[in-house]
């Protein structure tokens, strides 16, 4: 049993503690573990690679400069990290006057009727899967997209997403269901978008 325990990778909180005590290698492990997920979450959420890089950098540097360790044992490091990144992005949007839906009052009716008509610029050349996926994702309401991205890249459970986004768990569950449903439909049947292109 002890062998199984030692084979398990060191958890994030322990790595962060080691880093705070001066072990830079512990940070490198943490970074390698979460860099891709965090970056793709940000890129998917804001749809801008350069902005994603900026927020990504700010997030890690704020973690480096912060002397605090994980505040609550119940909160996982991953949730904490994504929370920092999300707050940074919202701050950025606020500074630049962009209206962002992440703070909008949840409207179940809005989520119940996802946009049926993708924007014309999103319908150009959707022959490849990746582009179709991106277009489908961009077409989601922002709240649904965030939940999906946290699920896909952060690999978070519903209650973790609920805690991070300060949203009721049932609402998160609903958003995720609608997001998955729409993505499945778009990926299975690209015909409507092709028709629009014509």
């Amino acid at each position: 049993m002890s062998a199984a325990t030692t084979d398990q990778p060191e958890n994030d909180a322990a790595l962060l503690r080691r880093y705070r005590r001066g072990d830079a290698d512990a940070f490198a492990v943490l970074y390698a573990r979460h860099r891709l997920g965090l970056f793709r979450f940000l890129a998917g959420l804001c749809g801008d690679a350069s902005l994603a890089e900026e927020i990504f950098q700010e997030t890690w540097l704020s973690l480096v400069r912060s002397a605090s360790e994980q505040q609550q044992a119940s909160v996982q490091f991953r949730s904490w990290l994504y929370q920092i990144a999300r707050n940074r992005l919202i701050d950025h949007w606020r500074r630049h006057g962009k209206r962002q839906g992440l703070q909008d009052v949840f409207d179940e009716q809005l989520h119940d009727s996802p946009a049926d008509e993708p924007g014309p610029e999103q319908q150009l050349d959707l022959s490849r899967d990746r582009q179709r996926l991106q277009a489908a994702l961009d077409d989601l309401p922002q709240e649904q997209r965030e939940v999906f991205l946290l699920r896909a890249h952060g690999d978070m459970e519903l209650h973790e997403i609920a805690e991070l986004t300060h949203t009721p768990a049932e609402t998160v569950k609903s958003r995720l269901r609608y997001a998955l449903s729409k993505l499945r439909r778009l990926l299975a049947d690209p015909a409507p978008t092709e028709e629009v292109c014509r």
Binding site: Y19, R20, G22, D23, A24, F27, A28, Y31, R33, H34, R35, L36, G37, F39, R40, A43, A49, A52, E53, F56, Q57, W60, L61, V64, R65, D129, R130, L133, R151, A152, H153, D155, L180, L183, R184, L187
Partner: protein, 224 residues
């Protein structure tokens, strides 16, 4: 990280896997390097300040004692070397023993006695120096004044050291003053003729001296 979760629905799992498989975005290598370097720098031990290093040095007794011991040894060796160096004896040294000074005076006097017959001009021996000085002195005031006396003494610079010349000036002044005081005493006693004769003789002996002025000074010592 993104391992399949058995608790999730298979359809959801498939879609998530499909989506992840098509995601290619990632942070640049430069960004990775910058973040890792910043993290490493943040926990690197800071180089202590000069003050901190000095304090640290002083906290180590062995090293401090070693440094202090070396310094003391160097000072001791330097002192011994300087003390061992030969020192030139100085005739002009005022600290010469009286016995030695007497011997030196006698030998000089004997030497001058031997040289006297051979030279037409008398050598400026200490005994003749007073007369020479009398003839060279410009005024009585100058003799009374110590710096002026020193100036007169400079005439003898060729044959006598400064330390020997200086004490000879006061006897010259006192001698003159003694004669002038005699003149004054004779005047007080009403013996003006005798006083005048004495003063006249003194004037003839030292025509270059302003004897009247000195007489006035002696008569009124608190005067202007």
């Amino acid at each position: 990280m993104n391992t399949p979760n058995p608790e999730r629905l298979p359809a959801e799992q498939i879609l998530l896997e499909h989506y992840r498989a098509h995601e290619t975005g990632q942070p640049s290598a430069e960004l990775d390097a910058m973040i890792l370097a910043a993290a490493r720098e943040a926990v690197a031990p800071a180089r202590p300040s000069l003050l901190a290093r000095l304090r640290d040095l002083l906290r180590r007794p062995q090293r401090f004692a070693l440094a202090f011991g070396s310094l003391a040894s160097m000072a001791l060796v330097l002192g011994l070397v300087l003390k061992g160096l030969p020192q030139e004896p100085s005739i002009d040294d005022r600290q010469v023993a009286p016995v030695l000074r007497e011997e030196l005076g006698e030998s000089l006097a004997a030497k001058r006695k031997q040289e006297l017959p051979r030279t037409a001009v008398p050598s400026p021996a200490p005994l003749n120096r007073e007369a020479a000085r009398m003839s060279a002195a410009p005024s009585v005031e100058a003799l009374a004044d110590q710096p002026a006396a020193a100036e007169i003494a400079d005439v003898d610079a060729g044959y006598a050291p400064q330390s020997i010349r200086k004490p000879l000036v006061p006897p010259l002044i006192s001698e003159l003053d003694e004669v002038l005081s005699e003149v004054l005493q004779l005047r007080e006693k009403g013996l003006d003729e005798e006083a005048q004769q004495l003063l006249q003789a003194l004037r003839e002996a030292h025509p270059q001296l302003d004897l009247d002025a000195r007489l006035e000074q002696l008569q009124h010592p608190d005067g202007p």
